[in-house]
């Protein structure tokens, strides 16, 4: 299982990316890559509960299953997309990062992760 390779590919292809990880819904990181000192492991632990809450809210608002969450702060952006029911992939970008490209690369990577996880 070469999750790291898929994550590295994502980082290479997305301008302004800081780090990427594949995380279980329990918050445990399965694999991760990051530029500089960005702590992508902590991201998994912190944001997994938020994803669960977002899933509940989407369902309660009648919007169906959650597919993606984008968090923007005054320092960075974080895109998270569900991989099946039990995992999610997170990509952190600097403020000048290419969000559109980031979303596209994650969408391309999801089938690869799913294949590896099946």
């Amino acid at each position: 299982m070469d999750f790291k390779k898929i994550l590295e590919e994502m980082l290479e292809n997305v301008e302004g990316s800081i780090g990427a990880s594949l995380v279980g819904m329990d918050g445990i990181v399965i694999d991760q890559v990051s530029h500089n000192a960005f702590d992508i492991n902590a991201v998994g632990a912190e944001y997994s509960s938020i994803i669960k809450n977002a899933m509940k809210a989407s369902s309660n608002f009648g919007l169906g299953n959650t597919a993606e969450i984008l968090i923007t702060t005054d320092k960075a952006s974080m895109i998270m997309m569900l991989v099946g029911k039990n995992y999610f992939v997170a990509l952190a970008l600097s403020l000048d990062g290419n969000l559109g490209r980031g979303r596209l690369e994650i969408k391309k990577a999801i089938p690869k992760f799913e294949k590896e996880l099946s």
């Binding site: 809210a57 919007l63 968090i71 923007t72």
Partner: protein, 401 residues
């Protein structure tokens, strides 16, 4: 929205519904919904805005002008109404009226490049039409300017050009009261005060000489007005000179100002922290503005519902489909709060926005007007355009708060 209006015929949802009909090209349906809605809510400015646009679509330009003017009676700073009126006046070749509208926009948003271009075109056209009696732009009195919040960089620059340094200083100070971090204005004020100190206190007001880049049509002399009138009015040349100021010069000056006035990182962070309000801390005037701004936002095709919730999870203003479910407000609030805490723990700074994309729609959560703005939108909505609209809404709210 249709069902909501059927359930509650007094609802303000008539405006977004009419706007949706208008966008689909169903102008008669739009007119029926909007005119009925306005019968029940005659003071609702957004309804008049929508009706004006419907008239515009029906080529009833005079009716459209009347509606947009009504919007401005209720909301003098409505940029959309000024902009649409400017366009209509240009279509009707009433260039002087168009100039007034574009100038009003620029007093509110001085850096609006598009409007600056439109103003130039309008002034040029007005000058071409009336060679004998050149168009002269009325400037509001000091009292009017202050009371309507029209203090602006453009206005100050125009005062400077006429030699009214005291009024320019007052205008800059007025701007800084509202925008204390505006480094560009800070520097302009410092520079201007230095000039005033150098001048003799008893000397007549010194007219600031324009730089060569600004010095256009200086040979044009106006003789059709008395000196007193000239003092109170700005000529086309004045406006053109200010508007044609070399952009690169402005940018260079701004950059040097930013470098000079740059404050410590820590201080700026503290200032940027948004103020949060409890539900009972919103005044009725603020709520009225929020209702109008959110209704305008909800008129965008694809938005199902917008609501502002206070940080205790109490809905302050809600527009669009209503869930009647308080626990949903609390749920989204919890997402925002948790994410905000996580962002702080991860040293990611202040949370600005959370976007949740699900199978059939989006939930957007943004820190807004002391609370959290929640927007529920259909899946096919253009998120880029929505972001722009939300930024615009935030600016409008900022101005009145």
């Amino acid at each position: 929205m249709k069902k909501k209006l059927e359930d509650d015929p007094n609802s303000l949802v008539f405006a977004p519904l009419a706007e949706a009909y208008r966008k689909e090209g169903a102008l008669e349906d739009a007119y029926q919904v909007c005119s009925k809605g306005l019968e029940k809510n005659p003071d609702y400015s957004n309804g008049h805005l929508v009706l004006g646009r419907i008239y515009q679509g029906q080529s009833k330009l005079d009716n459209a002008v009347l509606e947009f003017k009504k919007v401005l009676e209720f909301d003098p700073e409505n940029l959309m109404a000024h902009s649409l009126l400017g366009l209509l006046f240009m279509q009707k070749s009433d260039f002087k009226a168009a100039i007034d509208e574009y100038q009003a926009i620029l007093t509110l948003t001085p850096d609006d490049d598009e409007t600056q271009k439109l103003l130039k075109i309008a002034i040029e056209k007005a000058a071409n039409v009336s060679q004998v009696e050149p168009a002269v732009i009325q400037v509001p009195t000091e009292k009017e300017a202050n009371s309507s919040g029209m203090a602006s960089i453009t206005m100050a620059e125009l005062y400077l050009k006429q030699g009214h340094q005291d009024k320019a200083i007052e205008t800059y100070e007025e701007i800084l009261k509202k925008e204390p971090n505006n480094t560009n204005v800070k520097q302009k004020l410092i520079d201007l005060k230095k000039t005033v100190v150098v001048d003799s206190p008893n000397a007549p007001p010194k007219k600031v000489e324009p730089t060569p880049a600004h010095n256009v049509k200086s040979d044009k002399v106006k003789t059709s007005h008395s000196d007193k009138e000239k003092e109170a009015k700005f000529s086309e040349d004045d406006i053109l000179q200010v508007m044609s100021m070399d952009r690169s010069e402005k940018e260079t000056k701004t950059k040097s100002v930013i470098a000079e006035v740059k404050e410590p990182e820590k201080t700026r962070k503290t200032e940027a922290k948004p103020v949060s309000l409890k539900a009972d801390q919103y005044s009725s005037a603020q709520i009225d503005v929020l209702k109008a701004v959110l209704a305008e936002l909800a008129s965008i095709t694809g938005i199902r519902r917008c609501f502002l919730t206070s940080l205790e999870g109490i809905s302050v203003v809600s527009v669009g489909e209503n869930s009647n479910n308080d626990s949903l407000e609390k749920q989204v609030l919890s997402i925002f709060k948790d994410t905000s805490q996580s962002a702080t723990k991860l040293n990611q700074g202040l949370l600005k926005q959370v976007l949740v994309t699900a199978e059939t729609g989006h939930i957007i959560l943004v820190s807004f007007a002391g609370g959290i703005l929640v927007v529920l939108a259909d899946h096919q909505i253009n998120l880029g355009m929505l972001r722009l609209a939300m930024d615009g809404a935030a600016k409008k709210v900022e101005k009145v708060s």
